[in-house]
Amino acid sequence: MLNSTNSHRKDPQADSSVSLLPHLEAKIRQTHSLARLLTKYAEQLLQEYVQHQGDPFGQPGFSPPRLPVAGLSAPGPSHAGLPVPERLRLDAAALAALAALLELVRRRQAELNPRAPRLLRRLEDAGRQARALGAALDTVLAALGAAARGPRPEPPAPAAAGAFPAKLLGLRVCGLLRDWVSRTEGDLGQLVPGGPG
């Protein structure tokens, strides 16, 4: 898998269109399916996260502030006019940042909720899956001939804070994960033959 990705990055145009197109189409379909699956997982993760945070999380009237997360922005409407490869590049960058943030959240949750192994496992899996989806996007981008992205800076670790801000951060990260994965699914859907694009 890794070798295959690298070979595409070296010379995305090297393969003939005859051999590349079926492979590319299959890869796009696979990545799209992964994004769709992870969207569902992200929704489940968000629900489970809320369940383990205690009050006021999960209460009907609770509406936490949408705090900005360092190194990661929410998918905004300003991206709507961008071409699909550019949107996919943004998706991949966001997923890479999310993977690191999810690990951070998992560590804080391990302190705050050490008796929630399923949540911790879900957080760990979510970080791993976000990396996998980002790598798959990179493969698709390379096959499309889009320029490979440069090294992504690791999001700065937030300063140690209290339990509530840590929970808020986790909630925000889980929400962003859902949003970005969902947007990735939509972006890839435009490339799938027969899709909306």
Binding site: M1, L2, T5, Q30, T31, S33, L34, R36, L37, K40, D125, R128, Q129, R131, A132, L133, G134, A135, A136
Partner: protein
């Protein structure tokens, strides 16, 4: 102080004790290697090294060492004494899995003491694991399996490694009791390729399997569909509808199914065509089932693209198809009670129940109808299988139907004879005797047979006829005799056939046949044939039938005629092709072409002119085929230089001629021009003329080109007619011009003959011709010619004849002014006179195309 002494004493005791114990356990030597593991079948060498203190203590050295394996002495030949304290032993082709090897020494030369012992293990290095494959049971972790290879007989560890492109996963170590599989500790993530491989290692080496890269979704074994249920349809008794709940995996992949079914009592399963259930669904209607039958179903699923594994079968579910009307009428018979009272008799009707596959449901009741006359009906309904009724002595017809929830069966009918019925058997009549067994639970299968009270010969014989008659054989056929004519069982037939003069031949044929082939017949022969049918009591001849064998077999005539016809056609075709290829030769010898003089026309030849057909539409009337032996004479320039006098006269002639051409062209036709030829050709080269005359029989000289065809100086036309020339045409002076021209090639580079018709006044070619003429004329004559051109232009709209007369007159006049051209003047005057004469009366030498009817072949 005392306490200190006590502590020191205790420590000394412990030290001394420890040292003494250590000395007791200290072996006298050791074996190297300590824990060997060797490959099975290989050689192994061990060395026993004695300690010096033991050598001294036991008064022994390495030569006193004795090696033992599993308490048995090793042969001395395998020992090697290395030095005073060391001895080695080599074990060859070690086959035992475990060997206890001990080093022993004879203390004091007599007492065997064990010095040291080791265990030698043998086995095999691990082989490369093969056939690595993984399966992802839905909702469970991924398990991979592989072929571990041969038994190593050693402790061997198998480790399944796995990684994504982005990270590695925790190793999965196979349990010792299941070295060929491992269940990974993490949940699989679909749609992300994972790479797995197996690493194996033991004391003798390591090996790695091939890497396997796959998407876990392609290795899924779904959970089976559950909650399978079966329901029937009241509308259709041949269907059952299955419904089920799909496994959760359906949310990420499409599924296909296998559905199998069987009747409850059957052991083999039938399968629904897989193509009918090749996509995700939650129900299916099975058709073509038997009514009111219990079926058992089961279902399984897998990914629709075939990548992955089938799920286990679901739990079985059963259902019963809905009822249908009985498919068969019940068997039915009667018993008549012999007691007869007051004109009535007791009749018991009996039938048996239908089999389940005939009843197609639960039989609710039976309906019996008795008909005495056509209008007398008696209906009975019962759910029993018998019915007793009192009937009159009349004849009855009874019908019986079975009814279930859906409907009634067809009716079975039975005739109950009248009471006075008495059978009377006669001879030579065929009777069908049927016996139906009656058991306690109903009737059995009836059996029938034919019988005669007494047989007799047939009342008539079979009528034989031919079905097909060949050259040497004939196929005879006949009909079975009617039963009334048989009078017994037909045992066999005999066929008699003969020719008119030959003996009769008889052939016996089995009675089951209705056809027989007579073979070895003679062709073109009349045969008479008859048949006799035999019963046990005798035979009866049928009528005689005659037929004649044909002379030829079918297709024989065609086989002769067709090749002959083909040969004839081929010969004819070849002859035609030969004649076609040699048609010119044949035509010349058999029917040489005699041109029709009335179709003669003038040919034109000029290097600047297109072919003849460009002359005009009138010329095109005469196709090339009309002209045979057309000779075109090209007169090339002659190297022979003429005498000065000749040059002079010729030059003059040339000028004259050019002027004449300029005046004559475009005004009149060749008839007008041809008259000038004899005048111009005033040369006295008779010999040359004769030569030309011998090859060109008819020729006419014209002076002008035609339309765009501009002859260089002179143009000649020739008739292709082979008719004898008229006297005037045969005169040498008429052809002198040809020879004259021929002799003056220095002036005229090339002269051609060509044809030209009259009555085609053309203006422009004449003008161009004048321009040409001017170029070849002298400068003194040039002005004069221009003057003449102007005059000619004025005259050009006049008619041919008159125009020509005027023109030639003027030409003559013009030439008269030219110095040194008197001869030519006279000749031009002659030309003018001849042209004038032409207008009034045709000359006999004129080409036939010039004037209609102007020449009559002689």
């Amino acid at each position: 102080m005392s306490t200190l002494q006590i502590w020191v004493a205790q420590a000394l005791v412990i030290f001394l004790t420890t040292e003494s114990v250590g000395e007791l356990l200290d072996p006298c030597g050791y074996i190297n290697p300590e824990s060997p593991v060797i490959e099975r079948g290989s050689n192994f060498t061990a060395v026993c090294v004695l300690k010096e203190k033991c050598v001294d203590y036991y008064h022994a050295n390495a030569s006193y060492i004795v090696w033992k394996t599993n308490h048995l002495n090793v042969p001395k030949e395998q020992y090697t004494t290395i030095n005073r304290t060391a001895s080695s032993v080599t074990l060859t082709n070690v086959a035992s899995l475990s060997i206890q090897l001990t080093c022993n020494i004879f203390a004091y030369g007599q007492i065997e003491q064990n010095v040291y012992g080791i265990t030698v293990l043998s086995g095999f290095p691990p082989e490369k694991p093969k056939n690595l494959n993984c399966i992802v049971n839905e909702g469970k972790r991924m398990m991979c399996q592989w072929d571990p290879g041969r038994e190593t007989y050693l402790e061997t560890n198998f480790t399944l490694k796995s990684e994504w492109a982005t990270e590695k996963f925790e190793d999965c170590k196979a349990k010792p009791d299941t070295p060929n599989s491992c269940l990974v500790s993490y949940a699989p993530v679909y749609f992300v390729n994972i790479e797995v491989w197996v690493e194996v290692e033991n004391a003798l080496g390591t090996a790695t399997s091939d890497h396997l890269n796959f998407d876990p979704v392609e290795k899924v074994k779904p959970n089976p569909p559950h909650n399978l249920s079966v329901s029937n349809s009241e509308e259709l008794s041949s269907i059952l509808k299955l419904t089920w709940i799909n496994p959760n995996i359906k949310t990420i992949m499409t599924l296909k199914y296998n559905i199998e079914y069987r009747t409850k009592d059957a052991s083999t399963w039938s399968q629904i065509p897989p193509e009918d259930i090749a996509s995700t669904r939650f129900s299916f209607t099975v058709q073509d089932l038997k009514p009111f039958t219990e079926y058992v179903f089961r279902i399984r699923c897998m990914r629709s693209n075939g990548k992955g594994f089938w799920s286990d079968w679901s739990e079985e579910a059963s259902g019963i198809t809905y009822e249908d009307r009985p498919s068969k009428a019940p068997s039915f018979w009667y018993k008549i009670n012999p007691s007869h009272t007051h004109g009535y008799r007791t009749v018991q009707l009996i039938w048996k129940t239908l089999l389940p596959f005939e009843a197609n449901g639960k039989i609710l009741d039976y309906e019996v109808t008795l008909t005495r006359w056509k209008s007398h009906l008696q209906n009975y309904t019962t759910n029993d299988t018998k019915l007793t009724v009192n009937l009159t002595d009349d004849r009855y017809i009874a019908t019986l139907t079975a009814r279930n929830l859906v409907g009634k069966s067809d009716a079975s009918a039975l005739t109950i004879p009248a009471c006075d019925f008495q059978g009377e058997l006669v001879e030579s009549k065929c009777y069908l005797i049927t016996v139906t067994p009656v058991y306690a639970n109903g009737p059995g299968s009836p059996e029938s047979t034919k019988a005669y009270l007494k047989q007799a010969p047939p009342s008539k014989g079979p009528i034989v006829r031919t079905k097909k008659v060949g050259k040497n054989e004939a196929v005879l056929e006949w009909d079975q005799l009617p039963v009334d004519a048989q009078n017994g069982f037909i045992r066999n037939y005999t066929i008699f056939y003969r020719t008119v003069i030959g003996n009769e031949t008889a052939v016996n044929v089995d009675s089951s046949h209705t056809e027989y082939t007579l073979s070895s017949l003679t062709s073109d022969t009349l045969y008479m044939v008859r048949m006799t049918a035999y019963t046990d009591e005798g035979g009866k001849d049928g009528p005689e039938f005659t037929f004649t064998t044909p002379k030829f077999a079918q297709g024989e005539i065609e086989a002769i005629v067709v090749p002959v016809c083909l040969a004839f056609l081929l010969t004819t075709l070849l002859g035609v092709l030969f004649c076609f290829n040699k048609r010119d030769l044949i035509k010349k010898h058999i029917w040489p072409n005699v041109p029709d003089p009335s179709k003669s026309h003038i040919a034109q030849w000029s290097p600047h002119t297109p072919p003849r057909h460009n002359f005009n539409s009138k010329d095109q009337m005469y196709s090339d085929g009309n002209f045979t032996d057309v000779s075109v004479v090209e007169i090339e320039a002659n190297d022979k230089k003429p005498f000065p006098e000749d040059l002079k006269s010729l030059d003059l002639f040339k000028k004259e001629k050019i002027s004449t051409e300029g005046h004559s062209s475009g005004i009149g036709g060749s008839s007008c021009m041809s008259s000038s030829r004899p005048s111009i050709s005033s040369s006295d080269d008779n010999e040359s003329t004769q030569n030309t005359s011998s090859t060109v029989q008819y020729s006419t000289v014209v002076h002008s080109g035609y339309r765009h065809q501009v002859p260089s100086v002179q143009v000649f036309s020739r008739s292709e007619s082979t008719q004898p020339l008229l006297d005037s045409e045969e005169r040498p002076e008429d052809l002198q011009l040809v020879d004259n021209v021929d002799n003056n090639d220095e002036i005229l580079p090339r002269q051609q003959y060509f044809k030209q018709n009259c009555s085609q006044p053309e203006t422009s070619p004449d003008i161009s011709h004048f321009e040409r003429s001017k170029q070849v004329s002298s400068s003194n004559e040039e002005d004069f010619v221009r003057l003449k051109q102007q005059q000619i232009s004025d005259l050009i709209s006049q008619s041919c004849g008159s125009g020509q007369i005027k023109m030639f007159q003027e030409v003559s006049t013009a030439d008269a002014f030219a110095p040194g051209t008197e001869g030519q003047v006279e000749r031009f005057e002659a030309v003018g006179m001849e042209a004038a004469t032409d207008e009034g009366m045709p000359k006999s030498y004129l080409p036939q195309t010039v004037r209609q009817g102007g020449y009559v072949p002689q």
